[in-house]
Each structure stands twice: as structure tokens, then as C-alpha cells.
Subunit: 246 residues, 2 copies
């Protein structure tokens, strides 16, 4: 997974296990799909299949929200959508600012899943003067100099950091100082933040490396049509020196 960086876990914070919270959005998406198809009721078995989990897990997850099913029947789709949305806080709108408008920032800005899911992008900010002023996904890119101002004026509560690695911590410090307590970080660095601020990280290179690990176990190497024949064990000292960032 994409990795975490949330505080140790305030168990009894409000009952719902973190692992369950992480799956609720998946259930919600599956339910939306069913809803579009006009399905009114689902069993845990069906919904679990659509969400890619097993049905016992699904039922236990939902049981943390309350008893919203009907024995012998299943769950009413619309009702469950509402309950999960409410639990996740999606019945209200969250104001998001995207900082860093390169290809990734653009992809995020144009992502349809935002508006429809309780998130409103209220700002695209960049430091590059040649990007500032451009129209992207219907918004004008603004200068990062106005970061604090915009966060306050527009009530931004979630900051999405899509800057190069070198800039990320600085931007993070600024948004936190401006009052933001939730950060979604796409830059390949570990951000340090004060207690009370949540950071979640999305890191594609980490995901690829995890895949590589498993792939290696399957075959013995990429393009491995000649197996582990030729020992790929290199000499005792190797040289890996590289720069890494977006």
C-alpha cells in the first residue's frame, strides 16, 4: 500500500478500526456502481465480491458503523451509501488546494472523482512563473506566494502536495502553519509534521518496488526465460549512487 504516516492510533478515538476506515471508500465506490445499475439491495457476498474482499470482513467492517443490514435479505444500497458517506464525512464539502501543477498536479486537478465525492478543489498553486496564470481544468493557476492568504480566504482544510521532493517539506511547513491539518503527499519524501496533523503518502515508486519483490519470487528475474541459471549475485561491494525525485 501506498504508505501511511498517521499518528500511532488513538484507539477508542471513536471506535472504527483504521483498517476498516481504509476500506470504506472501496465499498462506497462499489455501491455507487451498483446504484448506477439500478440495484436496490445487495448481500454481503455480492458487495464483497465487487469490492475485492471476503464477505466476513465486509460484514465485520459494516458492523462497526451500526446494524444497517436485514437478515435474510442484505443491505439496501442507497441507505448504505448514505451511512458510509456520513461516517467518512463526505456529506459535507472539503476544500482542497493542490500545490505543484506539473503533470501530476494536472492529473489531480482534472480528476473527476473529486467534485463528485465531497471534495472541492479551490486552488492550484505553483512557483513557476510560466505556469502561473495558465488555465487548468477550469481554474487559473495561482502564485504560491499567496499560499497562506488563499488557505485562509477559501477555508482550505486539505492540502495536496504534488511538488518536487526538494520543495515538499517547505510547502508542508507553510500549509501547516496556515492551519491545515490534513496533507496528502505525493512527493517522495517523509514529511515531518507536528502532532495533530495527518499526513498520507502516495508513492508510486514504492508500489513498483513491492511488485518487483513479488515478481522476483515468482520467476527469478525479469525476462527470466533462462531462469536463475546465471547467478545474478554480484561482487561483494556494489555502487549505487542516484538522485531521486519527481
Amino acid at each position: 500500500m501506498t504508505s501511511r504516516q498517521t499518528r500511532p492510533r488513538d484507539r477508542a478515538e471513536r471506535g472504527i478500526p483504521e483498517a476498516t476506515v481504509a476500506r470504506l471508500p472501496v465499498y462506497l465506490r462499489a455501491l455507487h456502481t451498483l446504484q448506477e445499475r439500478g440495484v436496490a439491495t445487495v448481500s454481503s457476498e455480492e458487495l464483497a465480491a465487487a469490492a475485492g474482499v471476503n464477505s466476513a470482513k465486509l460484514r465485520k467492517d459494516l458492523s462497526h458503523l451500526g446494524s444497517y443490514g436485514t437478515r435474510g435479505v442484505g443491505y439496501e444500497v442507497e441507505y448504505l451509501v448514505y451511512q458510509i458517506s456520513r461516517e467518512l464525512g463526505l456529506t459535507q464539502d472539503w476544500v482542497v488546494a493542490i500545490i505543484g501543477v506539473g503533470n501530476l498536479g494536472r492529473a489531480l486537478a482534472g480528476y473527476g472523482g473529486f467534485a463528485s465525492r465531497g471534495f472541492r478543489v479551490a486552488g492550484l498553486l505553483d512557483a513557476d512563473e510560466s505556469i502561473v496564470g495558465q488555465e487548468i481544468a477550469g481554474m487559473t493557476v495561482e502564485n504560491i506566494g499567496r499560499l497562506e492568504e488563499l488557505i485562509a480566504e477559501r477555508g482550505v482544510s486539505i492540502a495536496v502536495i504534488a511538488t518536487p521532493a526538494a520543495a515538499a517539506q517547505g510547502v508542508c511547513d507553510r500549509v501547516v502553519a496556515a492551519g491545515v491539518t490534513s496533507v496528502l503527499n505525493f512527493a517522495p519524501v517523509v514529511l515531518s509534521v507536528p502532532d495533530g496533523v495527518d499526513v498520507r503518502k502516495v508513492d508510486l515508486s514504492i508500489e513498483l518496488q513491492i511488485l518487483a519483490f513479488h515478481e522476483q519470487r515468482k520467476a527469478g528475474g525479469p525476462g527470466d526465460y533462462d531462469a536463475l541459471a546465471t547467478g545474478e549475485a554480484p561482487p561483494g561491494t556494489a555502487h549505487y549512487v542516484e538522485a531521486v525525485d519527481l
Copy 2:
């Protein structure tokens, strides 16, 4: 995070716990940073801080790879880089194809972390005729019609799916049929694949929803940051001026 979709877990598959595997890339990145700074040795305490975990966890993780530290001293950075790289399968090159060349696909194609980390992007494919033929990050976008052909010719072993949701399952079926057994999915759908194929998913909307959940618990609603009011956060006068773009 970012969610998973790996098979239940073949414990005793080869010893290393999944949770550990997921952190090794983080350690590796921290080690590379240290290496660039010319640091030759780190203690578990220092490395753990750089990676954002606690030191006991770090030591236990590393202990699954072997005994690569020196009591009373710490770990030799270069040696540890090599050992972790080898464990993750990064001492060999993995051939990657990116399917779907919208903004996200472009961001991925331009991601420097690829080449430097044992991944070689050997193809950018798209179905849109107006995109096919474009030069992106030094490569020419090719027609998705040639998918199977290219996978075979170039020995692609990891497919990155960055298509719209509606196209993702179809593309996935094709890459799997062509022999790919590792898929990194950015499309917001649950892919179904046969046993033996690993899928990892990166889903930004899920991450945002998890943040919203926690944010809601803190305050009571978006825009409500006079709740934690008077406290701590001073006016946003900090001026870290840094370059920001992707």
C-alpha cells in the same frame, strides 16, 4: 494507503513479512539520501527517524534480511543499500509499460525515480489516435493495438495501468493474457485477475476520503479551524521560498 490486492499471503513464501517488504523501499530511499550526503554509517535510531518509523521496528525489519549491522556501531550505509536492493530485486532491471498516456501517464513517464531504481519504461501506449505518435519524456507513444506484440518483444514484466476506469479491466485482461504477472493500477476500479497475478492499486480519491474521515473527527467540519482556534498556528508569515513544479 494506497490499498492492496495481493493474494492472502503465502506465509513461509520466503520468510519476509509483507509489512516489512512495504517498508524496505522507504528505508532504501532514506539510505540513498544519507549516501548522497556522504554518510557512511547509521544507527537504527537515525535511520528510523529518517524513514519515519521507530527504531525497534526498523531493527526487526532488517533482522529479517540477515544480520547486517554491527553492535555498538550501526549499519554501513552502502552495504545496507546493496542488501535491501537485492532483496527487493532491484539489482536487475524490470521492464515496465505504461498504458494510458493522459496527464497521469505523462507524470509517470517523466518520473525520474524509475530509471534510477531498477525500472525501465519500455513503452507508452494509448488508444487515442491524437496522442499516439507524440513524444513524451523521450519516448514515442504507441498504439495500444500493438500491446501484446510489444509486451512479448520487449520482455515487459510489469504493466502500469493509467487509463480511464472504463478501460482498465479490458487492458488488464490483455496484459495478463500476454504473460504479465504484476500490475500497478491507477484506475479507480477493482481489477479481477487470475491467481498468480499481483495487483497493487494507487487510488488518490481513497486517500483523500481517509483524510476526510480523520479531519472530521478533529474539528467537526471543514472550514472549522477556529475550533482549535487560538492555539499554536501563528499567522502564516513563514517564507520558505522554493521552486515548485513537476
